[in-house]
Symmetry: C2
Subunit: 310 residues, 2 copies
């Protein structure tokens, strides 16, 4: 147990990330009191059943009231509204942060509501699974991952240090970044990959020459790898694409350009160009494994046993 | 141990799939003698060290000579040449099959070399990992997977039944398919997914606004899922794209069309269209898990422990 960093921590939104934060904060004793709010009654009920935290409110303002750490963990599309609701109830000296996958839009939608004396420090833990809801969270989600903070000009150093300590205690390393750059980096490392995964799963579902049953049966040929992230939360991801439009369209443009070149190489039988790319891409995976961001077990460590099947 | 189905089984090419076949055949006693051939001396040396089979030859014809089961497990681009080399040495009544990811091209390149009396039955086990070489193979690779056979008109029923029994003994269920249809199904379930994965990893490696180090660091946002299949064997995959050109270009056309529609939805802020697709795609993953072709552990069952990190 660490000495509590905060007296009252309020997490707004108890999805995968919000509920994981509550779990790790409790496990590590990072706040004396931990409360949460969620707009969905079924989520609140689940949270009560799981005994996730000290109190769960329907009203975000009630949760945030008196808190010295408030974490917005809702889809980014509603963060502005939530911020407006809770703003009058925020204590002077409180830190307000978020876990949204887009940062410039959050700065624009949340920032203007922040009262003087509240330390608004946008953030984004690079962690998640394809599952959603309070039951899907777990305390180890942030362990060994990176958390990007995008502090605004003039951010209080002590508040930033305290929030950094909080994330370190969750198991993450903190990196500081300008919000526009964050959005560009995440467009290629997260947003476009999700879009492409959603897209190919959609394409495969709507073919007339190949049945959906065939797609499912023979998915072990590679397709199934894409279905994992294409099972991610639809509302969260709709908001991401709508609020990081420019960077996503920019990166998508690059992707399509490169894909057209590959298509042309196939059409003209340019085996050398294909082989060159296919060799190059192996190095990146090696780098990711070496950086501790991926398991090095083949086939994602999927089970292959004769006894049990998969 | 089963009664041996074959007297002498010869596997040409000791990569991931060839070496896995040798392992399972030995483990299950599917052939009295198991021999192999590989053109690479380092592969042959590894195979000797691993004691994979009874004998390993440099010359495919020597391995195939006297065999009643010959399995071509080389990249599809060289199967025609190998078939021409071994044809004069094939015994009457022998079954010759292959494990290539493309079937029409193999029928065209291998078929004409087959002597009368040899049963040529093209095949494709839908199984693999991103790793290559004789050290990467394992006996359980085919367990719980599908193996597609594409018998030609007039194929001997007894030979087909025997080859089916062989694959069943390896743990796979056999499905029969026309070779053209196989190539279309695999284009969407395997070939285009690999192409897209190679492509996005290539795009990410060559950006000027985002460094390769950033791509690696923040890959847990989704990108790393793509790097697995983008680490697959370059030569094998070059050959797949060159020899399944028509089906790949057809499916790639569909994919790009759908992606352009998504791009347009993002540009025009059509959240409803995005949400609709993102909800639809969840069902397919559910179907794949229910069909036993994917693990249902979140995040591919990647380890998340506080003690060891990942």
């Amino acid at each position: 147990m660490t000495t509590p960093l905060f007296d009252r921590m309020a997490v707004i939104g108890l999805g995968l990330v919000g509920s994981s934060l509550v779990r790790i904060a409790r496990a590590k004793g990072l706040a004396k009191t931990i409360v949460a709010a969620d707009a969905s009654s079924s989520v609140r009920q689940q949270a009560e059943e799981l005994k996730l935290c000290d109190e769960v409110f329907a009203d975000a303002a009630q949760a945030a009231s008196g808190a010295d750490l408030v974490v917005l963990a809702t889809p980014v599309g509603v963060m502005g509204t939530v911020a407006a609701d809770i703003a009058p109830h925020l204590s002077a000296g409180a830190i307000l942060t978020d876990v949204g996958s887009v940062k410039e839009a959050v700065v624009k939608s949340v920032g203007p509501h922040m009262p003087k004396g509240v330390h608004f420090i946008p953030g984004h833990p690079i962690a998640g699974t394809e599952q959603s809801g309070p039951g899907a969270g777990f305390a180890e989600l942030f362990d060994g991952r990176w958390c990007i903070l995008t502090p605004l000009e003039g951010t209080d150093e002590a508040a930033l240090a305290k929030l950094t300590e909080f994330w370190n205690s969750c198991g993450s390393q903190v990196e500081l970044m300008e919000e526009k750059h964050h959005d560009l980096v995440l467009a290629i490392t997260s947003h476009v990959p999700h879009l492409i995964a959603y897209n190919i799963v959609g394409t495969a579902a709507d073919l007339e020459g190949v049945t959906q049953q065939e797609v499912i049966k023979y998915s072990a040929g590679g397709f199934r790898d894409f279905t994992r992230i294409a099972a991610s939360d639809p509302t969260m991801w709709r908001d991401v694409f709508l609020s990081n439009k420019d960077a996503v369209l920019e990166m998508l443009g690059r992707f399509s350009e490169d894909l057209t070149a590959l298509q042309r190489a196939i059409r003209w039988g340019d085996g050398e160009a294909l082989h060159k790319l296919f060799t190059h891409t192996r190095d990146i995976r090696r780098g990711i494994i070496d950086a501790g961001q991926e398991t090095d077990e083949p086939d994602f460590g999927r089970r292959h046993d004769l006894e049990d099947g998969e």
